[in-house]
C-alpha cells in the first residue's frame, strides 16, 4: 500500500506554487462584478428553468436540481472575490506566465515567439465597467492564455507590448 508518511495537507509545500518568480500582476478588482453577474445570470436561468419544470410538470427531481444549482451559485458567489484575486500574469524575459484558480490551480507559460494572434474582447458588463479580456492565442488550441478583466487601456498597451515582444522573438510554428 502506498505510504502516507510524508502526507500532511497543512504543509505549505503541498500546494503548487512557483518559487523565484517576480511580482504577479493582478487583474482589475472590478472584474469581480463581471464574474458575479455571470454567476447570478447562470444561476437564475437554471433555477428558473428547474422551478418551471417543478411547478408546471410536477417533476420533483427538477426541484433538487434547482436547489443544488442555487447552493453552488451561492458558494461560487462567496468565493468569487478570492478567485478573481488569484488570477495573475507576468511578463518574464521570454515568456508570458499566467496563473489562476485557488482550489483548481493552473500555471501556464507560453513563449512570446509562439504568439499567433491576440484577441481583445469586451462583454456587455465588462464594457460598462471599462474592462476588456485579452486572449493570447498560439497554434495549440489548448495553450491559449486568456487574461480577463484588464482595464481597457491596460489591455491595449499589453497587446502592443506582447506583439512587439513576439516580433523580436518570432519563431516558426
Amino acid at each position: 500500500m502506498p505510504d502516507q508518511g510524508d502526507l500532511n495537507p497543512s504543509q505549505p509545500s503541498a500546494r503548487l506554487d512557483l518559487v523565484d518568480v517576480g511580482e504577479w500582476k493582478r487583474v482589475s478588482p472590478k472584474y469581480v462584478v463581471v464574474e458575479i453577474v455571470g454567476t447570478i445570470v447562470f444561476g437564475v436561468v437554471v433555477c428558473g428553468g428547474a422551478s418551471l419544470l417543478w411547478l408546471l410538470l410536477d417533476a420533483t427531481w427538477a426541484m433538487w436540481v434547482g436547489l443544488a444549482v442555487l447552493l453552488m451559485t451561492i458558494i461560487n458567489l462567496v468565493f468569487e472575490p478570492r478567485r478573481v484575486r488569484s488570477i495573475g500574469y507576468q511578463l518574464r524575459g521570454d515568456d508570458l506566465l499566467f496563473r489562476r484558480g485557488i482550489l483548481f490551480q493552473r500555471f501556464v507559460a507560453v513563449p512570446y515567439g509562439r504568439m499567433q494572434l491576440i484577441d481583445i474582447t469586451r462583454g456587455p458588463v465588462a464594457r460598462w465597467l471599462g474592462l476588456a479580456d485579452l486572449k493570447f492565442v498560439t497554434a495549440a488550441a489548448t495553450a491559449s492564455v486568456s487574461i480577463p478583466g484588464l482595464p481597457e487601456a491596460d489591455a491595449e498597451s499589453l497587446r502592443d507590448r506582447l506583439v512587439e515582444l513576439a516580433e523580436i522573438r518570432r519563431a516558426g510554428l
Binding site: 495537507p9 512557483l18 500555471f107 516558426g172
Partner: protein
C-alpha cells in the same frame, strides 16, 4: 550554397505564371459521382420500359408516365439535352477558371465560376506536401498534390495533375520551400526542352500552359503501359528518395496488427452477447440489428488494411517521406521540424509480439471527409523495436546517440517497479501516486534530453511521448484538491492538435515545478536555435542535393 549546385527545376510550373490543371479534373473531382447518378437513372428507366412493354401501365402520377401520356417526350429530351450541355459547359469553364501558380515565395490557386476563390500559401510556412492518388484518378494517371499549411482546412490543393508531373512539381515545391534560391532567368531553352514531360506549348506565351497527361499523344498501348507502371510503382520519384524504405512491414504482421485491436475485442464481446441473447431465446430482431454492423466491420478491416499496406518511410533531403496505400495511395513529405509531437505506443494486445505504433502531431492536419487517404498521422502502423528506432531517427534528426537510444528504450519498456536496481533515466511519480493511478504510477515519468522532452505513461497501453521543445507551444502545471492532498500535480505540454496528447497525470509537486521551469526555459532556448523553417539554408552543403542535381544533369544528357 554555390550557384552551380542549385538544382534545376524539374518542371516549368514554378515560373510564377498561371497554369491549368489536368483537363479531366472536373470529371475526376465530381464527375464520377454524376456518372453514377446517370447510371442509376438509366437503370431505373430501363426497368420502367420493360414494365411498359409487358403491360402493367397504372403508375398514376409518375412523372415519366405523365410526360409520355401527354406527348411531351420531345420537350423532355430537349430539357435533358439542355441540362447536359449546361453541365458540360460548366465543367469546361470551371476547368478553365481553375488555375494555379508557384513562385519562389508562394503557391496560389484560383478557382470558381461564380464564387471566385483565391488561396495563397507561403512556401516557408509549408507543413507538408502530400501526393495522393485515389483509385479512380490513379487509373487515369492523375494525382492530387496537397500543400498543407498550418490551420484547420488550410490546404492548397492541386487536383488533379498528371502523375509524373505532380511528382516533379512536389520536388520543385519542396526545393523552393527549403530556402534554396534558384536562378530564375537561366531556365535555358535547351534544358527545358530536354526535361522530360514538360509539355511545351510553342508560340503560346500568353495563355496558361496546358497540362495534359504526359503520354496523352502516344499510342494507346504506351498509355496503358505507363498507367500500369505508375500503378505498380509505389514511389514515383526514385532519385529524390532513397529507394529503400527504412522499415518493411510484412503484410501478415500488418493484417494481424489490425485484427489484434480493441475493435476486435469489442466485436467478440458483441458476438458473445449475441449468442447469449439467441440462446436465451430472444427473437430474431437482435440479429437483424447487429448483422449490418458486422458487415460494416468487415469493411472497416478491409479499409484499414488496404490503407496501410505497402507502407514505406524514407528520409529524403527535404524531410521524411511516408507512403502508404494499396488502391488509393498517398505519399506525404514532412519537411524537417514539422513534427510537433511523437507518440510511441503499444496496445496491450500487441505486447506479446513486441509491436509498436508511432503517431505524430503536425500543424497541417486538415480533416478530409472523403475516403481517400489524406494526411496520415501514423508514421509507423506496426513495427518492432528496431523499426521504432529507425523511424525515430528520421523523425527526430540528431536524437540518435546511445544515451538517447537508452532513454527511448527505457521510456518504452521501463518502469520504476520493474527496474528496481537499474538506474532509471526518467524522473518518476512518487509511490503515493498509486492512489490516483493504481497500475500505471510506476511508469509515469518524464525526462528532458537535448531539445526533446520525453513523457512516459500508461501500463495497459504503453506510451512514450516525445515533444521537440522547439515546437512546443506552452507548458502548464495544475493541481486540484485531490492531488493537493497527495502532494501531487499534473502537467501538460501544449502542442498543436492531433492524436498525441502530451500530458502527465501525476507527479510530485516539487517535480512539477522543476518540470515547469525546465520546459519553459527549454522551449525558449530551442526555439531560438531552431532554423528548420528554411531547412536547407541551415545545412552547409547537403550531399543529397548534390546527388539529385547530378541525377538531374544525367537526365538532361
Amino acid at each position: 550554397m554555390s550557384e552551380s549546385v542549385v538544382p534545376v527545376p524539374r518542371t516549368d510550373l514554378t515560373d510564377g505564371q498561371w497554369h491549368r490543371l489536368h483537363p479531366a479534373t472536373p470529371l475526376l473531382r465530381g464527375g464520377i459521382f454524376m456518372v453514377a447518378i446517370l447510371g442509376f437513372i438509366f437503370a431505373n428507366l430501363r426497368e420502367r420500359l420493360i414494365d411498359l412493354f409487358i403491360g402493367q401501365e397504372n403508375y398514376g402520377g409518375d412523372p415519366i408516365d405523365e410526360i409520355y401520356q401527354r406527348g411531351a417526350t420531345g420537350w423532355a429530351l430537349l430539357i435533358i439535352a439542355g441540362v447536359l450541355i449546361v453541365i458540360i459547359v460548366a465543367f469546361y469553364l470551371s476547368w478553365r477558371m481553375h488555375t494555379f501558380r508557384v513562385s519562389g515565395e508562394i503557391v496560389e490557386v484560383r478557382s470558381g465560376l461564380i464564387f471566385r476563390s483565391n488561396r495563397k500559401a507561403r512556401l516557408d510556412r509549408v507543413q507538408g506536401v502530400n501526393l495522393a492518388r485515389p483509385v479512380v484518378p490513379r487509373l487515369f494517371g492523375a494525382a492530387r498534390l496537397e500543400i498543407t499549411v498550418a490551420g484547420q482546412d488550410g490546404n492548397v490543393q492541386l487536383a488533379y495533375l498528371g502523375s509524373k508531373l505532380a511528382d516533379d512539381l512536389r520536388r520543385d515545391i519542396l526545393h523552393l520551400a527549403s530556402g534554396l534560391r534558384q536562378a530564375r532567368a537561366p531556365m535555358a531553352a535547351p534544358e527545358a526542352a530536354a526535361t522530360p514531360n514538360a509539355p511545351a506549348v510553342p508560340g503560346d506565351d500568353e495563355a496558361p500552359t496546358l497540362i495534359g497527361p504526359p503520354t496523352a499523344h502516344s499510342a494507346l498501348g504506351d498509355f496503358a503501359t505507363a498507367r500500369y507502371q505508375e500503378f505498380v510503382a509505389p514511389e514515383q520519384d526514385p532519385d529524390a528518395a532513397p529507394p529503400e524504405s527504412v522499415v518493411r512491414i510484412p503484410p501478415g504482421r500488418l493484417i494481424a496488427s489490425v485484427v489484434m485491436s480493441g475493435f476486435t475485442v469489442f466485436l467478440l464481446l458483441a458476438g458473445i452477447g449475441l449468442i447469449i441473447s439467441v440462446i436465451a431465446g430472444s427473437s430474431g430482431w437482435v440479429l437483424v440489428a447487429v448483422l449490418p454492423g458486422l458487415i460494416g466491420s468487415v469493411g472497416y478491416y478491409f479499409s484499414r488494411i488496404t490503407k496501410q499496406l505497402r507502407f514505406t518511410i524514407a528520409g529524403t533531403s527535404d524531410g521524411v517521406r511516408v507512403g502508404f496505400g494499396l488502391l488509393s495511395t498517398s505519399s506525404q513529405t514532412l519537411p524537417p521540424g514539422r513534427i510537433h509531437a511523437i507518440a510511441v505506443s503499444q496496445p496491450i494486445l500487441w505486447r506479446r509480439f513486441g509491436w509498436w505504433q508511432i503517431s505524430i502531431n503536425t500543424a497541417g492536419q486538415a480533416t478530409r471527409g472523403s475516403g481517400a487517404p489524406a494526411t496520415s498521422t501514423t508514421i509507423l502502423p506496426v513495427g518492432t523495436l528496431a523499426d521504432v528506432a529507425k523511424v525515430l531517427e528520421l523523425a527526430l534528426p540528431g536524437f540518435d546517440t546511445d544515451h538517447h537510444r537508452a532513454l527511448v528504450a527505457d521510456g518504452m519498456l521501463g518502469g520504476r517497479k520493474r527496474d528496481a536496481g537499474v538506474p532509471d533515466y526518467f524522473s518518476n511519480a512518487p509511490r503515493r501516486a498509486a492512489w490516483l493511478r493504481p497500475f500505471s504510477w510506476h511508469r509515469t515519468g518524464w525526462a528532458v534530453s537535448g531539445n526533446v522532452a520525453l513523457l512516459r505513461c500508461g501500463v495497459i497501453s504503453r506510451d512514450l511521448i516525445l515533444v521537440p521543445l522547439a515546437r512546443m507551444q506552452g507548458v502548464s502545471v495544475r493541481q486540484g484538491p485531490l492531488r493537493r492532498r497527495l502532494r501531487l500535480a499534473a502537467a501538460d505540454l501544449y502542442t498543436v492538435a492531433g492524436p498525441v496528447n502530451a500530458s502527465l497525470s501525476v507527479l510530485d509537486v516539487d517535480e512539477a515545478l522543476v518540470l515547469f521551469e525546465w520546459m519553459s526555459t527549454g522551449a525558449v532556448r530551442s526555439a531560438q536555435s531552431d532554423t528548420s523553417h528554411h531547412w536547407s539554408r541551415a545545412m552547409p552543403k547537403s550531399a543529397a542535393d548534390q546527388q539529385s542535381s547530378q541525377n538531374q544533369q544525367g537526365a538532361v544528357k
